[in-house]
């Protein structure tokens, strides 16, 4: 859904949270995990959400990722409110607008890279004709054009995460949502994956990273710090989008 943005209209925020609150039942009471978050992500931004475990950043990510609907407050994905949506409607939003990248890659075992990347296409209402072609392009864009037939077990951790990123790109999402994408990788590979995210961001993708590592967060344009369910800080980083770092390594 890479719609061309026209200058005549006011630009719609990719993600818009207003007084977003959420709670879980815990020991008979409700534990308020998010206490009124205001957050706006504009198209083409690269934002890192950072916070210690238990801060509520995972819940925030699950809400942004439309894996659940918020209890209170407003959440709009490309101007569309997710409040009161059914499971099926949320699934459509995820399919059409969001690409997930997980810490544990979550690739299908004993399945080729190409088939892994193609998998999300089977949940479209009508069959996607050029599925192989699209998946190949996605794998090429993450630098795995020569690994189409390899199974996850035949790939390194970094390569597996690249396959997962290609899978996230297959539905041409408006948001790339990455949950600790470097959590299972060594420092060197982490740098490569972060470089890839930056590259994708420069190519126009909106990227939201969730992490607890400052070094990872610093690769983004903006760092949003969450603690105890509140938004503590929302600061731009010193890094300029177009300065390449550790690229080509």
């Amino acid at each position: 859904m890479n719609r061309p943005l026209t200058t005549q209209q006011p630009i719609t925020a990719t993600i818009e949270c207003q007084q977003l609150s959420h709670s879980f039942p815990m020991a008979g009471e409700r534990f308020r995990v998010l206490k009124g978050i205001d957050l706006t992500v504009m198209p083409g931004e690269m934002v890192a959400i950072i916070g210690p475990s238990g801060s509520g950043k995972s819940t925030l990510m699950n809400l942004i990722g439309c894996l659940m609907t918020p209890e209170q407050g407003q959440l709009k994905i490309l101007g569309q409110s997710t409040i009161g949506m059914s499971k099926a409607e949320l699934a459509d939003i995820r399919r059409d607008h969001i690409g997930f990248v997980f810490q544990q890659f979550n690739l299908l075992a004993r399945t080729s890279a190409l088939d892994n990347v193609k998998m999300p296409l089977m949940y479209h209402d009508s069959a996607v004709a050029d599925a192989d072609e699209r998946a190949t392009k996605c794998l090429q864009s993450v630098g795995l054009g020569d690994r189409l037939d390899n199974h996850p077990s035949q790939l390194s951790g970094g390569q597996q995460q690249r396959v997962a990123i290609a899978r996230a790109l297959i539905n041409r999402p408006d948001i790339l949502l990455a949950d600790e994408p470097t959590g299972a990788l060594d420092t060197h590979t982490s740098a490569e994956i972060m470089a890839l995210f930056r590259q994708l961001n420069q190519a126009g993708h909106t990227v939201v990273l969730v992490t607890h590592e400052m070094e990872v967060a610093e690769q983004a344009d903006r760092i949003v710090m969450v603690r105890d369910g509140c938004l503590l800080q929302d600061t731009p980083t010193m890094r300029q989008t177009h300065v390449p770092r550790a690229e080509g390594s």
């Binding site: 699950n62 499971k87 997930f100 949940y123």
Partner: protein, 407 residues
């Protein structure tokens, strides 16, 4: 289409498990089909026997005289004679033909071929009464019976044994208990009787020829027969004719009232009773087989539940990339239906092979019913839906967040 391929791929991924699960279905469906084939076969065999026998046949046999259930002293045995047959035919207008015969066992020799077979000495009417056709040559005549002519009709199996090709038999001379007899006719093949004996392993000759020359009876016994075969004009008259024959024979043999001296059996009625018993028994067996199919279905459900638990993270992932609950539901349903249908098709193949083996290899009477095969395949697919639904429902209702976090 896509989902079918996905189902096949994931079933192949756990090949051994899929095969073992399918085995339950295979065994269940084969059992159902084989049991029905056996039941149908037995049924059809009985029907054929009834047809070959005719529904209008009464068998009359002399028995020890009994008065109200108590058997008389040994030797107090009643006897049937050829004249009884004539009397029945002459007295009762409802009777079409009365066959009378004696049975024995004899050695039959042709050249260097030697065969022990059953012999029947019979009157002319026996062939009519027992619905026996002549395949080649001719039957013997009334005058040949009177004169005790040295002629014989040969059964299909005996002719095959002695001549290789039964069509060579007519016109040849064989020795039956050293008496040379000319073969004048070949009996049409009748197959097995209801106890599995070969009805074609027999030679039939005029009663007098058998009694005088082959068995060697004398005096009054020359006209003695062991059984009468009475053909009645229509089925409705069977009960009436049975009573009349008993009355007539009691009168002729001076049997006191209240005593039983003859047994008169309606063979097709006996066969029908037997067929009914067969049917009940085979339905019972098919029912048991159906239960094993059900157990197979439970096996499928079990393995689908395991599969859902095992693939919780995969389900979470699929939901995250946009799979609706319904898509997950149908994916797992398709998987269990595919498992069941593959099992059903293999089961049908195996039962076809087994039925052929039993039919041609072991000579059992089997009848495959395409309807039963279709019903069991469709039924198995329904079992797949039925038993696959709960696991699929469970998968579809997983929370994607929990599922993705599942270790």
């Amino acid at each position: 289409m896509n989902q079918l391929a996905t189902a096949l791929i994931s079933l192949r991924r756990n090949l051994m498990r899929s095969i073992l699960t399918t085995l339950g279905i295979i065994i269940g469906i084969s059992a159902v089909i084989i049991m029905f084939a056996l039941g149908e076969g037995a049924q059809r065999q009985v029907e054929e026997q009834i047809k070959s026998l005719g529904t209008n046949i009464l068998m009359v046999r002399a028995e020890a005289i009994r008065s109200v259930g108590a058997t008389g002293a040994a030797g107090n045995v009643n006897r049937l004679y050829i004249s009884d047959a004539d009397a029945i035919k002459n007295e009762l207008p409802e009777v079409v033909a009365v066959g009378a015969y004696n049975r024995g066992q004899a050695q039959i020799v042709y050249g260097n071929q030697n065969w022990n077979t059953g012999i029947q000495g019979a009157n002319v009417d026996l062939l009519t009464a027992s619905n026996w056709q002549i395949a080649d040559g001719r039957a013997y005549t009334e005058s040949e019976v009177r004169s005790g002519a040295k002629v014989v009709l040969i059964g299909h199996s005996v002719a095959t044994q002695l001549f290789g090709d039964p069509t060579f038999a007519v016109g040849e001379t064989v020795r039956v208990n050293k008496i040379p007899l000319r073969i004048i006719g070949l009996l049409a093949a009748k197959g097995q009787d209801m106890r599995g004996f070969d009805q074609d392993d027999i030679v039939i000759m005029p009663l007098t020829t058998a009694n005088r020359r082959v068995v060697g009876k004398s005096g009054k016994d020359i006209n003695r027969v062991s059984r009468l075969v009475v053909a009645v004009d229509q089925e409705d008259n069977m009960a009436f004719v049975t009573e009349e024959i008993e009355r007539l024979l009691n009168q002729r043999h001076r049997i006191a009232a209240g005593q039983t001296a003859f047994s008169i059996m309606n063979l097709s009625a006996m066969l029908s009773t037997r067929a009914e018993a067969n049917r009940v028994f085979s339905s019972l067996l098919a029912g048991v087989a159906g239960v094993s199919l059900l157990v197979g279905g439970i096996g499928v459900m079990n393995i689908m539940l395991v599969s859902v638990t095992e693939r919780t993270r995969e389900i979470g992932l699929r939901m995250a990339v946009g799979a609706k609950p319904r898509a997950i539901l149908s994916q797992f349903l398709i998987e269990s239906v595919v498992l069941c249908v593959i099992g059903a098709l293999l089961g049908v193949t195996i039962s076809l092979l087994a039925v052929m083996l039993m039919q041609y290899g072991m000579g059992w009477s089997m009848a495959l019913s395409p309807v039963i095969m279709l019903i069991s395949v469709v039924g198995t697919a329904l079992i797949g839906v039925g038993f696959g639904f709960y696991p699929a429902y469970k998968a579809a209702n997983l929370d994607p967040i929990e599922a993705l976090r599942f270790e």
